[in-house]
């Protein structure tokens, strides 16, 4: 009899063990910003949305109904493309948006909540408090276009909608836009162009706490990458080599640049117009708080400030993770490894890097990955999840990704433009997408950061009936 009981117990244990080791992605919700939305080349567009890291993760996990707020080609805003690489025999790429007419939402009538709640431009504050109304967009108002497309009902925030969906699994990757605007404007000012660390930590803890209290999801937190190690900030040298003069360190309105300084991609078009060069006007170093004109220079000290800010955010994320027992996927280390060369993704003898245009990871905006980069990211995340939860989600087939080609393949003739590097128009479009949120500074300081009515399960929205 004892033997029988023992055998039954053993069988039961064996039967239970694999189930405990698995993670359930059947109702996966991704919270985040443009990186989660799958934005590439300054555009949110269906082709890239289908290749966003949450979509790839869901696909690999066998989830067939991962819903996203699709936008038709050429996306919002119109996607960037590479117009040419060489001018006068020199590597001087031209990048410009494809046309002026943006794409349209194609999945706006989906009756439930989207699984991908990544909202381009969203800060942590936005994820918690910002709503969006599709009617706003239908009336031609693009001010909060991404919130309107993703959130739609004008009532619930991304955080609330995530809770409403009662997910089994979640990823949260938020915080990049709390500092990215400072990099794009070349001006890190705590509380003005960047969210203060203390405030970020408080918000983050509250947001994760709300999810922990109101859902039973397994949650992977994703920290914030340095915004100073992306092609947008590392691709333009702070000097030019001029015949008969030699190496000329570009002149900014705050003085000459040094080897330790960075010129953003936004500065490329200005340099082509003579800015920073002998006899030309100086490059604008910093954001003009009166006109809103961005700076295009990041001084070494500013880079340190930006990185320290990200370190502060990440410490807060770690602390929150420890408090709630959630794992943190260290995407900052992932990108830092790519940047330093400590990690060189190699596929069949071919290597990828973060080098702008030629590296294969980043898109034409120099900030967001393209489909190869997102697939790489998804593959890293899958390995992390498998290690963390003992699951066996298949890794991404990178051969399929590498040989697929981009959304235009096989080729659509690129339009011609005359601007150098990233055209002024392209940079302006990018800057409009990711401006430093100056108007948020007073807002984020208002007392009662978490709205009093938001203390428990949000019942204002019915969980979606999934088709």
């Amino acid at each position: 009899m004892k033997k029988t009981v023992f055998a039954i117990s053993l069988v039961a244990l064996l039967a239970v063990a694999p189930a405990m080791a698995q993670v359930d992605l059947s109702n996966y919700v991704a919270l985040g910003d443009s990186m989660t939305a799958g934005l590439a080349s300054a555009s949110m567009m269906d082709w890239y949305q289908d290749r966003s890291y949450p979509a790839v993760l869901a696909l690999q996990a066998g989830v067939s109904d991962f819903e996203q707020p699709y936008i038709s080609e050429p996306g919002i805003g119109p996607i960037f493309e590479l117009v040419s690489l060489l001018q006068d025999g020199e590597l001087r790429p031209v990048i410009a948006p494809v046309g002026l007419v943006p794409g349209l939402p194609t999945n706006a009538e989906y009756p439930g909540i989207y699984n991908n709640l990544g909202i381009p431009t969203a800060t942590l504050y936005d994820m918690i408090f910002q709503t969006g109304d599709i009617n706003n967009l239908l009336q031609g108002n693009f001010d909060t276009v991404f919130f309107d497309i993703v959130l739609r009902n004008g009532i619930n925030t991304a955080l609330e909608q995530a809770i409403g969906l009662q997910p089994t699994f979640m990823t949260i990757w938020i915080g990049s836009n709390d500092v990215l605007g400072a990099a794009l404007a070349g001006t890190p000012i705590d509380g003005i162009t960047m969210t203060p660390v203390e405030f970020f930590g408080g918000l983050y803890g509250n947001a994760v706490g709300a999810l922990a209290t109101n859902t039973t999801a397994d949650i992977v937190l994703i920290n914030v990458p340095y915004v100073t190690e992306i092609p947008f900030t590392t691709s333009v040298d702070p000097f030019v080599d001029i015949p008969d003069i030699g190496r000329w360190y570009l002149m900014a309105d705050t003085g000459p640049l040094t080897d330790d300084d960075f010129v953003t991609l936004g500065g490329g078009a200005l340099i082509a117009q003579g800015y920073g060069l002998p006899g030309g006007p100086p490059l604008p170093d910093n954001l003009n708080l009166f006109t809103g004109e961005p700076g295009v220079v990041l001084r070494a000290a500013e880079v340190d400030i930006l990185n320290a800010q990200v370190d502060g955010y990440n410490a807060a994320i770690e602390a929150t993770a420890s408090a709630f027992g959630y794992p943190v996927f260290d995407v900052n280390a992932f990108f830092a490894g790519l940047s330093s060369g400590a990690y060189v993704p190699t596929y069949g003898g071919t290597t990828l890097s973060i080098q702008f245009l030629l590296g294969g990871i980043f898109s034409y905006d120099g900030i967001h990955p393209q489909h190869i980069g997102y697939a790489l990211l998804a593959d890293e995340l899958i390995q992390f999840i498998n290690a963390e939860y003992g699951s066996e989600i298949p890794r991404v087939d990178m051969a399929e990704v590498l040989f697929e080609g981009d959304w235009q393949s096989p080729g659509v003739s690129p339009t011609k433009a005359q601007q150098t590097i990233m055209s002024a128009e392209a940079f302006q479009r990018l800057y409009e997408l990711f401006p430093p949120k100056l108007d948020q500074a007073p807002r984020i300081r208002r007392p009662g950061a978490i709205r009093p009515e938001y203390s428990g399960r949000d019942n204002r929205i019915k969980p979606a009936t999934r088709p």
Partner: protein, 431 residues
């Protein structure tokens, strides 16, 4: 104006052009030196009674002085096959590929000349290392290797001296000549369509005579009651070689991308290269028992592949392409058993079996060389008269299934499995 680190991706791609290209292994080591030894797993170290002992144990020649001048020549037909099943992330789960059909004919020629009844002088020509790999045209590993041909020829001279009726030693020197040729594609992400694209074919070819000296020695002791013991050693050697690398552009259809590549790669030039390759030592010990009808022999050997630690490839005129690749191979053991039955006055039969350990870490397995532990079965027969001998043997070598275990340094993950039929043939003439 643009791009700190510009061209870094191109540089990395170019550097790995040759880095993985000169892998060696038990898969490259050849033991095919005779139709008779091939039929009994090469267990000649303690037997040493035909000319193939010049490879296995030079001391054996001292016991053949009564045979007069001997000439042995022959060839081994090798038809290697290897299949690959991929896994994600690259080249993808379920991807399958096979090597193209190839046949190789490594030859062997041995000449033994007795000086007196104790001393024998011998000359040898054979191929101790050699391999050819080639994959299908649409192979996804084409950025690592498309085709590789390798041959190392040994021109040896040795002497064997019989100290007593029961004990002899032999020593020899070897002049090693290496030839290698390989080809692969270079792939980059096309910045226009973000697709992995072949932008160039790179080939590497040794030129001139890339050579090195080595030596070998052995003892053979007839212990009595039919037993004999043999031991031999072949030294390691290092080839400091030169050659030429050629880059041939593959148009992408994007003129200025092609133009950019043209500023970086020395297309259609023969770019000099220098490489240093270390080959392993090889020692064997064997024990045999013989009577009028039977020979039974066992043998244990180790190839000292731990000498193969790095592979420096230098581009003297294009130092940006130079690289030093870590290999860190291990010594590899092998054991062999063989039996011969002298069925009649003119006919002999034999069988054998061997196991051969791979020296290659899983990290280094690639389409260029994916080695694994091997086992081989063989059987053969001989027809002989007083002055003539014909040996033939069939051998089946199985490269056991082996996975890269997600460790491959070139990002080509999957499982390799191979086999190779070998047909050994030799003719021996006695004058």
């Amino acid at each position: 104006m643009i791009a700190k680190n510009r061209g870094r991706a191109l540089l990395v791609a170019a550097m790995v052009l040759v880095a993985p290209a000169l892998g060696w292994g038990s898969g490259f080591a050849l033991f095919e030196v005779g139709g008779r030894s091939g039929g009994m797993a090469g267990v000649m170290t303690a037997v040493g009674d035909d000319l193939s002992t010049l490879f296995w144990n030079p001391a054996g020649m001292a016991f053949q002085t009564d045979d007069g001048i001997q000439l042995m020549f022959g060839v081994t037909l090798i038809q290697p096959e290897q299949d690959f099943v991929g896994m994600s992330p690259y080249p993808g789960t379920g991807y399958r590929a096979s090597q193209v059909e190839q046949t190789f004919f490594p030859p062997h020629i041995f000449l033994g000349i007795p000086v007196n009844d104790r001393l024998e002088l011998s000359f040898a020509f054979y191929t101790p290392f050699g391999l050819g790999t080639g994959w299908e045209d649409d192979f996804r590993g084409n950025y690592i290797a498309k085709k590789t041909d390798l041959m190392v020829f040994d021109l040896g001279v040795s002497m064997a001296y019989k100290i007593s009726e029961n004990f002899a030693f032999g020593i020899g020197v070897d002049y090693m000549v290496a030839q290698i040729e390989l080809a692969r594609d270079i792939g980059l992400i096309n910045p226009y369509d973000q697709r992995l694209t072949s932008v160039a074919e790179a080939s590497l070819k040794g030129d001139g005579i890339n050579s090195a000296w080595a030596w070998n020695a052995g003892i053979l002791w007839k212990m009595g009651s039919g037993f004999s013991f043999g031991a031999s050693y072949r030294s390691e050697f290092t080839v400091n070689g030169g050659g030429k690398a050629t880059f041939t552009q593959i148009p992408t259809g994007y003129a200025d991308f092609d133009g950019l590549l043209n500023t970086f790669f020395p297309f259609d030039e023969k770019v000099p290269i220098e490489a240093t390759i270390s080959f392993p030592n090889f020692w064997n010990v064997g024990l045999a028992w013989q009577n009028e009808k039977w020979t039974v022999s066992g043998q244990y050997g180790v190839m000292g592949w731990s000498a193969y630690e790095t592979l420096p490839i230098i581009f003297p005129e294009n130092p940006e392409f130079s690289s030093v690749r870590e290999e860190n191979w291990d010594d590899a053991a092998q054991w062999r058993v063989g039996v011969e039955f002298r069925a009649s006055q003119h006919w002999d039969l034999r069988v054998g079996y061997l196991e051969d350990e791979t020296p290659q870490p899983a990290e280094g397995m690639s389409p260029l060389l994916a080695d694994s532990d091997r086992e081989a079965y063989m059987g053969g027969l001989s027809y002989h008269t007083d002055r003539f001998r014909f040996d033939i043997a069939y051998e089946q070598v199985n490269l056991l299934e082996r996975s890269t275990d997600g460790l491959n340094e070139e990002g080509f993950e999957g499982t390799y499995e191979g086999k190779s039929p070998l047909l050994h043939m030799s003719i021996t003439l006695k004058f």
